[in-house]
């Protein structure tokens, strides 16, 4: 039986027939590989489910099992499907949270296909096994699975000084956003032509909407420009927007970037000015010179 997905009796019958040899093969594969497979979806071939596909890894939630945050959990979301897929060594199988029906289902690891981009699809013939109904609170969902409390909780914001890699590790959405941004090559060359020591300190908040749109663009610029051209650093501010470093540097909103030339602050780039970060930085440097 599947959950909340179009399914005809013919589909079910053929799936059952196919499932017999498949289950035998699955057992042979799962037993020796064990929990390694649980954390790594198979790169299985096959057509993805028409709805439960395009799961992207996200960083905004933590997987909590019996009150303990699972650091090795991989959490994927398909916004269009309205579903969240979680994988973790503590779970014997990946779990699908169907947000629209509020049901969860266990998904056999072999029914997942991981794409080169890291996105995951559930295969069309995946036998999704219903495993309960989850309850929702204001900041997450929880459900009892095999006697254990499995919860998705909102993750704390990234706070303090960080580098771009740490932001990407915190939330892969930063990497996807960076990937989709193409800086202006001419402006990049202009910045490379600078012979000054340029440093940009970016203040951001993990939950701020404009930051989510703008910081990936800055990360892309950070990736494109060599460190000897412009050095970037990132400072995550708490959700309360009260932080000694913010006060010290008189940061009144995020995202704000302080641009330093030869160690001296020459200007700030704020909010929507980050839309074309290479232009904003170039203009800030030009104004100062």
């Amino acid at each position: 039986m599947t959950i909340d997905r179009p399914d005809s009796p013919t589909d079910r019958a053929s799936r059952t027939l196919c499932a017999v040899p498949a289950l035998a093969l699955l057992a042979l594969l799962i037993v020796p590989v064990g929990t390694v497979l649980t954390a790594t979806p198979a790169t299985a071939q096959g057509a993805p489910d028409p709805l439960f596909k395009d799961f992207e890894q996200i960083g905004q939630f933590s997987l909590v099992i019996d009150g303990k945050v699972q650091e090795d959990a991989d959490i994927f979301q398909s916004e269009a499907a309205g579903a969240i897929l979680v994988m973790c060594s503590e779970l014997d199988q990946p779990i699908l949270f169907n947000l629209r029906s509020r049901q969860i289902a266990k998904v056999p690891i072999m029914s997942l296909a991981k794409r080169p981009t890291g996105d995951v699809d559930i295969l069309a013939d995946a036998p999704l096994v219903p495993a309960g109904t989850f309850s929702v609170g204001t900041d997450g969902a929880s459900v009892n699975v095999d006697g254990r409390t499995v919860a998705l909780e909102e993750r704390a914001s990234l706070i303090g000084a960080h580098q771009a890699d740490e932001l990407i590790n915190y939330d892969p959405a930063y990497a996807r956003g960076a990937e989709s941004y193409s800086p202006n090559e001419s402006l990049i060359q202009d910045l490379r032509g600078q012979d000054k020591d340029i440093r940009v300190e970016v203040f951001f908040n993990s939950k701020c909407g404009v930051c989510k749109k703008m910081v990936p663009r800055i990360i892309k610029l950070d990736q494109v420009l060599e460190d000897d051209v412009v050095q970037f650093s990132y400072y995550g501010v708490p959700d309360s927007y009260k932080d000694p470093e913010m006060e010290k540097k008189d940061i009144t909103g995020v995202p704000t970037g302080i641009v330093y030339v030869n160690g001296k602050e020459v200007g700030r780039i704020v909010g929507g000015q980050w839309k074309i970060p290479e232009l904003a930085i170039k203009n800030t440097i030009l104004k100062a010179s």
Partner: protein, 339 residues
């Protein structure tokens, strides 16, 4: 130097001879009449802007605590009626004290409101209301712009309107008095019926042809534009829904999700973005409760308020330009049902 020859409007049955008979008196009369007419026109434009978006005006009155006695709606109707009547009387050259004194009080009141916001702005405080001044949501101005523009637009013509006033004649010119009363009643009727009339494009800054990069609010470091909130709008086709995250919208999520499913399963159509003023916690709660299959993005109230009269309101964007607007949700069936 010879006196300039001034052709004054011929006296009508409502217009009395002037106290002075010299040409300078005639000049004063012309200056006063023109200034009064200008002030009247400004007031009428302001009435129009507020009457076609009465909810925003009522909200502003409520936010300022001006509706305590008879309620903000009644205050809004009285203010619109007064402003419309004065506007017509001044425009038609009625410059009796029973027009100019209330006119002066009205101008003083507007300046008090914009001055209050300007003072708060200078002190680093939030304005009392999201919109600034007497032009409703049609014109979005910073507190400083609102104060100085109102001062420049209203005070000089008001003062000049006192020049060369008729010394005698009919104190209550019948035809024009009736015209003013008709205008006052008309303004109230317009404000009453406006929410049901398709005036969104007229009453707000959001209309076909506008570029999303030009839909901005604030100034300096606080300036934010719609293309910052949703940078993706710059390219491709999109549908944007402006909405409050409430039960009413929750009930509509299934409709939007059905469209998203259609797209997700290979259907062709624009992407959907929902823009709201709701804070992160509110958006998260909505996400878990209703499972929207689309992005919920936050924008400042100052940016969104001038874009709608009632929520939800939605619009289509192609390559950064608004191409269509709708009251409520977009007609998703247009894409789902095919051409």
């Amino acid at each position: 130097m010879a006196d300039a020859t001034v052709t004054a409007p011929a006296p009508t049955s409502d217009t009395a001879p002037f106290a002075g008979s010299s040409s300078s008196a005639g000049s004063l009369r012309v200056v006063g009449t023109v200034a009064g007419a200008f002030l009247g026109a400004v007031l009428l434009v302001a009435v129009w802007a507020k009457a076609i978006a009465p909810a925003a005006f009522v909200e502003e009155i409520a936010n300022r605590g001006l509706g305590l006695v008879i309620g903000p709606v009644a205050v809004a109707y009285v203010a619109l009626a007064l402003e419309a009547g004065l506007g017509v009387w001044l425009l038609t050259g009625v410059r009796r004290l029973w027009v100019l004194v209330p006119g002066a009080l009205l101008v003083a009141f507007f300046l008090f409101l914009t001055g209050q916001d300007y003072a708060r702005d200078l002190m680093g405080l939030e304005p009392v209301a999201a919109s600034c001044g007497c032009f409703g949501n049609l014109v979005v101005r910073t507190p400083a712009q609102a104060f100085w523009q109102d001062l420049a637009l209203l005070v000089p013509p008001l003062l000049l309107a006192f020049l060369g006033r008729p010394a005698n004649g009919s104190r209550v010119p019948k035809v024009r008095t009736v015209l003013g009363i008709v205008a006052a009643v008309g303004a109230v009727l317009l404000a009453w019926k406006a929410p049901d009339l398709p005036l969104d494009d007229l009453a707000t800054r959001l209309k076909p042809g506008v570029r999303v990069a030009d839909l901005c609010a604030g100034e300096g470091e606080g300036r934010v534009c719609l293309d910052t909130v949703v940078p993706e709008l710059d390219q491709g086709s999109h549908l944007v829904v402006l909405a409050e995250l409430n039960e009413e919208l929750g009930a509509e999520v299934a409709t939007i999700n059905a469209y998203m499913d259609y797209r997700h399963t290979g259907g062709d159509g624009p992407d959907v973005w929902l823009v709201t003023t709701a804070e992160h916690a509110e958006r998260q709660a909505f996400f878990w409760q209703w499972a929207p299959a689309f992005d919920l993005l936050q924008a400042p109230e100052l940016l969104l308020t001038p874009l709608y009269r009632t929520l939800p309101r939605s619009f289509a964007v192609v390559d950064g330009e608004v191409t269509d607007t709708w009251s409520g949700l977009p007609p998703f069936e247009r894409w789902q049902d095919g051409p």
